[in-house]
């Protein structure tokens, strides 16, 4: 008899991914940690990756499954290039099509009780507009202007909802994201203070190198003069 070869529980995991639309495009953010349970095991992984010139995906959950999803999508892009007559880049798969395709894949896996254990953010630029949304391990599909996965749903989303305005400036969008990432570092135990930002505009995709954000750990009550 064959051993069970299904995903039973996530082993190496990534925490939240945040996304926010602004005037000229969209910015995604995440930390660079792959946790091994409570151990902060892999401290420089990339949980936001480009798929085409105009699309990125970000992943929460089992990191090996996220790597598999990246492989599946990039392979699909190559297959599609053969079909596209013009050979032009603008005729390759759109972010919304990639998003739709991924939701079919994940839903199919859940039906077989062998899920890819992820919550994936798909974001990109198509037809002059931003497309951003999420798909999860059950195959649920959502589109929105502000996105958060993992613990970000609980900590960051309420903050983003308050701060979001349609067509906000780039600096304001970054400020909102940095604020949310800080809160997550304070409150989510499975995070580190090392972040990557991915910005998508009509020009294309730009993913930054890891940066640190300042945090305050002095406990106010124990400050001199306070007690």
């Amino acid at each position: 008899m064959q051993p069970k070869k299904k995903t039973l529980r996530p082993i190496v995991t990534g925490s939240s991914v945040l996304g926010i639309k602004y005037k000229d495009g969209v910015i995604l953010a995440s930390d660079t940690l792959g946790s091994y349970g409570s151990l902060a095991r892999f401290r420089d992984i990339r949980r936001i990756v480009p798929i085409t010139k105009h699309t990125v995906i970000g992943g929460t959950g089992e990191f090996s499954d996220f790597q598999e999803i990246t492989k599946i999508l990039r392979q699909k892009i190559i297959e599609n290039q053969e079909l596209v007559e013009s050979g032009k880049e603008e005729d390759e798969l759109l972010p919304s099509e990639i998003h739709s395709y991924l939701s079919r894949v994940l839903y199919g896996r859940r039906n077989k009780f062998n899920p890819l254990w992820n919550d994936v953010v798909v974001a990109g630029f198509e037809k002059g507009k931003v497309h951003m949304g999420t798909v999860d391990l059950w195959g649920s599909y959502f589109e929105d202007d502000i996105i958060a996965t993992g613990y970000g749903t609980y900590f960051a989303l309420p903050l983003m909802r308050k701060a979001y305005k349609k067509d906000m400036e780039r600096d304001k969008a970054l400020e909102v994201l940095r604020d949310c990432l800080t809160v997550l570092f304070y409150r989510d135990c499975r995070t580190i203070n090392r972040y990557v930002f991915a910005e998508i505009t009509k020009e294309g995709v730009n993913i930054t190198d890891p940066v640190e954000i300042e945090t305050k750990w002095e406990i106010a009550d124990w400050q001199e003069g306070k007690l």
Binding site: L83, V84, E85, D91, L93, L94, S96, E97, H99, S100, Y101, R104
Partner: protein, 264 residues
Amino acid sequence: MFRTQYDSDISIYSPEGRLYQIEYAMQAVAQGSTALGLKSKTHAVVVTLMRSSDELSSHQRKIFKVDGHMGIAISGLTADARVLLKFMRNETLHHKFVYGSDLPTGEVVSSLAMKSQRNTQRWGRRPYGVGLLVIGYDGGKTHLYQTSPSGNCFSYYAQAIGSRSQSARTYLEKNFKEFPELGLEELVLHGVKALKESSGKETLTKLNVGIAVVGKEQKFEILKPNKVQTYLDQILQTEGEIEIENENENEKDQEAETLELKLD
């Protein structure tokens, strides 16, 4: 086409490097009644002549919808066309389900070409005896493709297939340069005029002429007979005007003759 010793099987080449079975299949397309297609920057149109075997029977349908943005006109073996139509409908539906978007016309035509070619190189199979004119609107552009039993597919500005199609093709060749900028009404009119060229002795009526359109803000639609009649009327009217002009000129000549007589 003459019978030779190299035409008894699809897998036999002739000494000239021809596959006669494929050419005979293309002859089946040429025997079907005329179907033609033409496109502008914003719309693509197919016009067909629908035969009926006798007065009691209905006219053979030649235009079919594939999806909201795509349709075909056929010429040749209708039964074979139904198989290809089912295939195309499946492909477009599957694409919509997986990707949430319209399947580009060029992609489904490529798949059709592959499918058609397979039947020219497989034991026990024969080529599909039907030619399709595929019109579609996707990616902000209009498309017109012709497929043939050989598996060859080409994109066209305008094309006509079936019996007496050469006359229609000649008309299209003469006029196609002005098609890109035309509006829908004028484009359809050109199509109907082209069909008239290859209708021979048959009179065009709203029952035996099929028209379908697709384009920008225009889902694929087969026009109802009453709408078809309005285009036929416009053609007859222009012809009628020319006739009346000729009649008037003849009358003027007669009057002149009578005057001369009177002066005498």
